[in-house]
Symmetry: C2
Subunit: 321 residues, 2 copies
Amino acid sequence: MTRPSSVPPPVTAVLDASSRWLPARLGEAEELLRAAVGGHGETLGEDATATLAAGGKRLRPMLVLLCAGPEAGEVTVRAAAAIELVHMATLVHDDVLGEAPLRRGLPTIAATSGRERAVATGDLLFSRAFALLAGSGDARAVALLADASVALARGELVQRRDAFDLAVSEERYLERCRLKTARLFECACLLGRDEEQLREFGAGIGLAFQLLDDVLDVSGPPERTGKARGTDLLDGTITLPLIEAAKSDTSIREVDLHGLDHASAEILCDRIEATGALERVRARALQLVADAKGALERSAFDPEQKQLLSLVADGVVQRYS
Amino acid sequence: MTRPSSVPPPVTAVLDASSRWLPARLGEAEELLRAAVGGHGETLGEDATATLAAGGKRLRPMLVLLCAGPEAGEVTVRAAAAIELVHMATLVHDDVLGEAPLRRGLPTIAATSGRERAVATGDLLFSRAFALLAGSGDARAVALLADASVALARGELVQRRDAFDLAVSEERYLERCRLKTARLFECACLLGRDEEQLREFGAGIGLAFQLLDDVLDVSGPPERTGKARGTDLLDGTITLPLIEAAKSDTSIREVDLHGLDHASAEILCDRIEATGALERVRARALQLVADAKGALERSAFDPEQKQLLSLVADGVVQRYS
């Protein structure tokens, strides 16, 4: 079986189980991605191509394709590529906003080419996503992706407004994660197939994904995450591990995040870890995945596709276990 | 006749001539704009609403509606609002990129709320544009706007790459203007009606608009433009007045734009003006408008609509005469 080089080990089980059709479709989506970021003449697409080459799990395209099933046609492959372009655009713009010099272990565009080029490169990826999707003539798909993009931008604005504020509630954190992360996973599933249980499934694993990402920011290790421990804390982003930790160690509430440097951020990570907060957040994420799989089980979906989607859900967890 | 308060004097002739239907349609587009930037809960849409309230000429929505004509329905009104949202998004992102503290005489979002919020607000406006347009189910319109957005982002990347480089050619400058400005004017016309001569008309007045904007950056006065003279020069943006001036005053080629401050930028503006470059660029813009009107005349368009569109073309020039 030919396996696209950009797809990492955790999802190989899914690929093996669906080797009849999924790798070929993922390969086609990858081709569309390459075409979408390139072809802008000379060095224009340079940063965008670098973002593409930096890899990523292609989780969202995989969800689109798996929800669509073996009959997935060109329109679905376009949607799979388009949603990854939107995801890439938000990563590039996030890097403009945050201070992280690394993303997936490589320098960010903002760090190498300046914020100016990063803003424009994100805009280019974003526009390309809609150009690609509109080309399929599927107005429902465009509306789904546009609404998810609105949610992403709102989530980013909530994150900015709540930055450095240790009084941010758990509810508010969860709402932000729904906007920033879960909505795009949900959108991926609905782009694949118009079925209500898929919405619940996608939103559930998306939220779990974000919770585990936030655990990873505290736990590291950097060799595995490709970024320094406490990167979120340095940006002033209040995450659930921090909120949880402050419940048992109230002195954490007194920390001034504005005053953090890399060394004190590491120390704060250790303090959060010492409260057992990471285990508690991890457990919640596992429960979210279990619930998501439950919603999937209750659906009238094809059994083989259910199994494949369950493997993706497990992949979200395994990557961080 | 009721005239939307956001529509400034230069285009009143057009409004008077089309008072039977245009003001009502423009008012509807304005309603859609308000709904699109608001309704994001609490202070989320604050910056976006401020951008909307800061006004603007609504030239692009007007072109959409005038090209569509009196039969313009809901789909066209949505397109009119959507193209203005994309335009607003690029203005907000431009402000992140540039150093200008003012836009239309008011502080920029980047200046008041920080670059972080400005990037996210631009993304929100951009997403909203596509959400609004997709809601009409018109895939052709989405494709037109997405392609124009790709051009805008490419134009921004060209501008960044060519920044501070006094060796930039006139051809390269014109190509950048086509991408950054003319394509959206062209898109506005084609959103209104699928007719090839309208493409030529829109592209022509769009390019003229940019040339005259670049003249205004050098000539001022700030009371009228709402920004300091030489703002482009301070950002390192090479414009046609500068390229033209350097042809007759070769010492201008020796200027190091990196070393400019507000005072020396003003002096450079005076030097450019002294070469007569502004008159030459203005004359070229007028010729572009004349050619655009010629293309319009040759079209099989309704005579009254031709007349109204000619008035818009004149408005582009008059604003700067």
